[in-house]
């Protein structure tokens, strides 16, 4: 990965020295041991290598521009050989693909009014890597490979237009989620009912899969060890939790997600999220009464458990509420809107105050300087808790990412077979109009 980035930034011969991995969280003694040892790549003493790099001329580096054009067509060859080529080049997700012949791509392009050569956007696997650009035709090629129908193409183009990769590279193993709202859900037969998150629907399955192929082939991503570094990977990436909201079975007063984001109800919109995992309604601690699994208090307790995912997510949560439970939350508990419930959850999801300070150590210093509320929090007894609503909004210097302004998203989906919910650590990224790509 390091050599790849250096090359693409135009410095292929920049001297690079490695120490054993990781150095994150290692003691001074361990770091010294690493530094007094050998470079695991070259086998040379590290400090000597550094000095050699400073004093020895690197390989000749010519200035100039290297253009990298691609051939539009591949072949001719047999179907068997071409399929093998696609797999061996890493252009698939390992599952069988539909070969993108000119005829199939032409048929796919009938799903949009946009010209094949229109630039849709650009994508990269994280901010350190180079972005590749792509056209409507290139998106259609990957849609064919995923097995999508032409009617799905506007959804896939909308996702691609955001430039958001589903294969974000980090040594953590990130996943992505895509939510479809509006009339297009019914038009193309997306499943938002029984088994909404399962492998039961052609549209959900192939649209989600297309995002993975786009992220690999158009977004310069998904090559393990080069531009994908998630150490264990994430199974959710196979179809990126491609879901549709069950707008028809929400309680009165609850607005579809895209309407919450400012779109009109009759618009078709895709919204993207990032996260790692989901936790189920059966998450411990178990309530005394079985029915209490469905209480807002229990949802808050599951959100609290998301702390295990690490400090930088700032306790973002995405609650996927099943319609029966949504009705109860409205009728029995009085949450007349989604916003009523998310505000309640922010007030009633608590974190140990000392865990907060562990995550945001600069707030200890702010508290010691007398800044409120941190000064008061420093005087709280052991075991005291604070609601997540009181977490700071501005980005502390030790945290790479800003806090999400709306940390809890609420989505209704499922088939009314159980009072169920999942809580994911997924946070909202962006939305895009699907209608624009029809």
């Amino acid at each position: 990965m390091v050599f790849e980035v250096a090359e693409k930034k135009g410095a292929a011969s920049i001297p690079i020295c490695f120490v054993p991995h990781p150095v994150f969280g290692r003691s001074a003694e361990q770091c010294r041991e690493y530094l007094e040892g050998l470079d695991p790549i070259t086998g040379r003493p590290i400090l000597e290598e550094i000095v050699t790099f400073l004093t020895s001329a690197p390989a000749e580096e010519k200035e100039g521009v290297i253009e990298r054009m691609r051939e539009r067509e591949i072949g001719p060859d047999t179907e068997e050989n071409l399929v093998r080529l696609f797999h061996e080049n890493g252009w698939t997700d390992g599952l069988p693909i539909i070969l993108p012949t000119e005829e199939r791509v032409e048929e796919m392009l009938k799903g949009t009014s946009h010209p094949p050569d229109e630039i849709v956007g650009s994508m990269r696997p994280n901010p350190d890597h180079e972005a590749w650009s792509y056209t409507v035709e290139q998106v259609a090629i990957n849609a064919v490979m995923a097995g999508a129908k032409k009617e799905y193409l506007p959804v896939i183009l909308a996702v691609a237009s955001t430039g958001t990769t589903s294969l974000f590279t980090s040594t953590n193993s990130w996943a992505r989620m895509m939510l479809v709202n509006g009339p297009v859900r019914k038009e193309i037969g997306m499943n938002s009912g029984i088994g909404a998150m399962g492998p039961f629907c052609e549209a959900n399955s192939t649209i989600g899969r297309a995002w993975t192929l786009i992220s690999k082939n158009l977004g310069n991503g998904g090559r393990p060890g080069v531009n994908y570094m998630g150490t264990q990977g994430n199974n959710l990436n196979y179809n990126n939790v491609c879901i549709a909201e069950n707008e028809e079975n929400m309680p009165d007063g609850w607005r579809p997600f895209h309407v919450q984001k400012g779109y009109r109800a009759e618009e078709s919109v895709v919204s993207l999220f990032a996260g790692l995992h989901f936790r189920p309604a059966m998450e411990p601690p178990p309530p005394v009464e079985p029915w209490a699994y469905t209480s807002p208090q229990h949802i808050a307790s599951v959100i609290r458990n998301l702390r295990s995912v690490g400090p930088y997510l700032n306790y973002s949560a995405c609650v996927l509420v099943e319609p029966l439970l949504a009705q109860d939350l409205a009728r029995i508990y009085g949450f007349q809107t989604k916003e009523d419930l998310t505000e309640w959850l922010k007030d009633n999801t608590f974190l140990d105050v000392w865990e907060y300070f562990r995550i945001y150590p600069s707030d200890v210093e702010r508290g010691l300087d007398g800044l409120e509320p941190y000064a008061s929090w420093l005087n709280l007894p052991q075991g005291a808790t604070i609601p997540i609503k009181k977490f700071r909004l501005e980005k502390p210097p030790e945290v790479p990412f800003r806090r999400h302004e709306e940390p809890i998203s609420l989505i209704v989906l499922g088939g009314k077979t159980n009072h169920w919910y999942y809580v994911g650590d997924f946070f909202y990224l962006t939305s895009a109009s699907i209608d624009r790509w029809r």
Partner: protein, 98 residues
């Protein structure tokens, strides 16, 4: 499988041109030079850079070693630091840490 030969369309996107950079000239020696050690501030890697500086300063005492933390987090650029190093330094070691 069909035995017919067919053409398919390339599934890959369009990469940008690579604009190659000329690397900084190497030093004849590090003695008497000012060399910056830049920590990009990956979380929980400060001890690593402190130990690196300590070892370099001990082993190469006739070199002036200057440690700097890059502004912001490891995702953010720091043009003013690069200007400072060009102006006041002879070389730079930048550490990623993970």
């Amino acid at each position: 499988m069909l035995s017919a030969r067919l053409k398919v369309l390339n599934p890959l996107g369009t990469p940008p041109p690579i604009r190659r950079l000329r690397l900084a000239p190497r030093l004849p020696t590090i003695e008497g030079k000012t060399i910056y050690v830049v920590d990009v501030k990956y979380p929980a890697t400060k001890p690593f850079f402190q130990e690196l500086l300590s070892l370099l300063a001990t082993r190469y005492a006739r070199t002036k070693w200057v440690i700097r933390e890059k502004v912001g987090t490891y995702f953010e650029d720091d043009p003013s630091l690069w200007e400072e190093i060009k102006r006041d330094g002879d070389a730079m070691i930048i550490g990623i840490g993970h």
